[in-house]
Point group: C3
Chain length 157, copies 3
């Protein structure tokens, strides 16, 4: 997909990429190793605020969880954009997403939560956005986030 | 190991590879990137039914957890088989397994659960089946599965 | 960074690398695939004893969790040392850490726990130690460990 067609899709989805979160101490938001771009776990922040706090099954609805997963995906794309010098067309393939969903023991729809992120990658990148993934339920997440997602992407050098 | 010797081992273990689960929406069961085969988290289904539901430490015994882990491993091999056009001898090395075990806070034998998957990879692939791994305890898993396992394999192109 | 400068940093930090844990059955402590070194999840053991047992938010303090994360990091470096024939200068880049923190539902400082591991990698390897990471809260971990961390490193062949 060309850079302009990706930009067009982001616009059509009304997505403005945020400034990616700055490096925090001795870890960094992304590492490029060979033709892999490895992106740190992203929290569901939007304009500096958490989109959904707490656990699915305990106050966070499926719909709110999906909004959170979508926000994580947007933050992953923002990090990729920073890593690739603003040229998202260098993404050859989104290889893997790990979707971590803060969950009560009886919440078992983690796959439906993470679908919101998977769908966004499909919507933005087409076939190149179709990835392998794992979706799992966590006891809790940093800063009381409802969802955290990390990613591996194959890139053109 | 040759394709026929892998087939022989599967037969000796009375394992018939299932039809792998079909792609679900915008994520896929596996991605090949360079010489890596990345397989999505597999649930412990057998003939369409969940082998073990619920959490270890709360109704799911260690033995049932191990049966579930073995079922996840068989499903991973079935996905690899589909990815590699039916030629499992193209697996150069099983590189990494992530073993996710739905657990109560006081269940701490996740390693024993995941051993059942690790052992199967050793039984089927020999030295090529010896992998790095992580085994961890989850609050819950999709569809109330007791175990979920994903994998990275190095393949011959 | 040269081998001797890494050794100097370890000494300055009063770190003596332990003998790495031996292979356990059909999984192994590390796999080298191409120029990636993939290290199995390490528990926070020191001289054979667990540095911190139980969950953050329930008897394990943040400080104890950080000691545990540091112990995991030292064990990761010990495994890397074994994998690389004692030449840690072959580490081109620490690519990714996954930090698993046994947590109660209301403990939400997993990032602060794992910082202790991230900082150690920065202290020992400098810029090459700056990695992508995920930090997440688990229901429980093997052998009641408070923390488990696995790693991917890019190495010089």
């Amino acid at each position: 997909m060309t850079a302009s067609s990706i930009d067009d899709r982001l616009k059509a989805l009304s997505i403005t990429l945020p400034s990616p979160a700055a490096p925090a101490a001795n870890y960094v938001p992304f590492v490029i190793s060979g033709n892999q771009l490895i992106i740190s776990g992203q929290l569901p922040t939007e304009n500096g605020a958490m989109v959904a706090s707490g656990r699915l099954g305990d106050g966070v609805s499926l719909e709110d969880g999906q909004k959170a997963a979508r926000a994580c995906a947007i933050n992953l794309i923002a990090q990729a954009n920073a890593a690739l010098g603003g040229d998202l067309s260098r993404i050859v393939r989104v290889v893997k997403l790990n979707g971590f969903v803060a969950s009560t023991p009886d919440f078992t729809d983690q796959h439906l939560v993470i679908n919101a992120a998977s769908n966004l990658f499909g919507d933005v990148f087409g076939d190149a956005g179709k990835h392998a993934r794992a979706a799992v339920g966590m006891a809790s997440l940093p800063l009381n986030a409802a969802v955290e997602i990390d990613a591996i992407m194959e890139i053109a050098l």
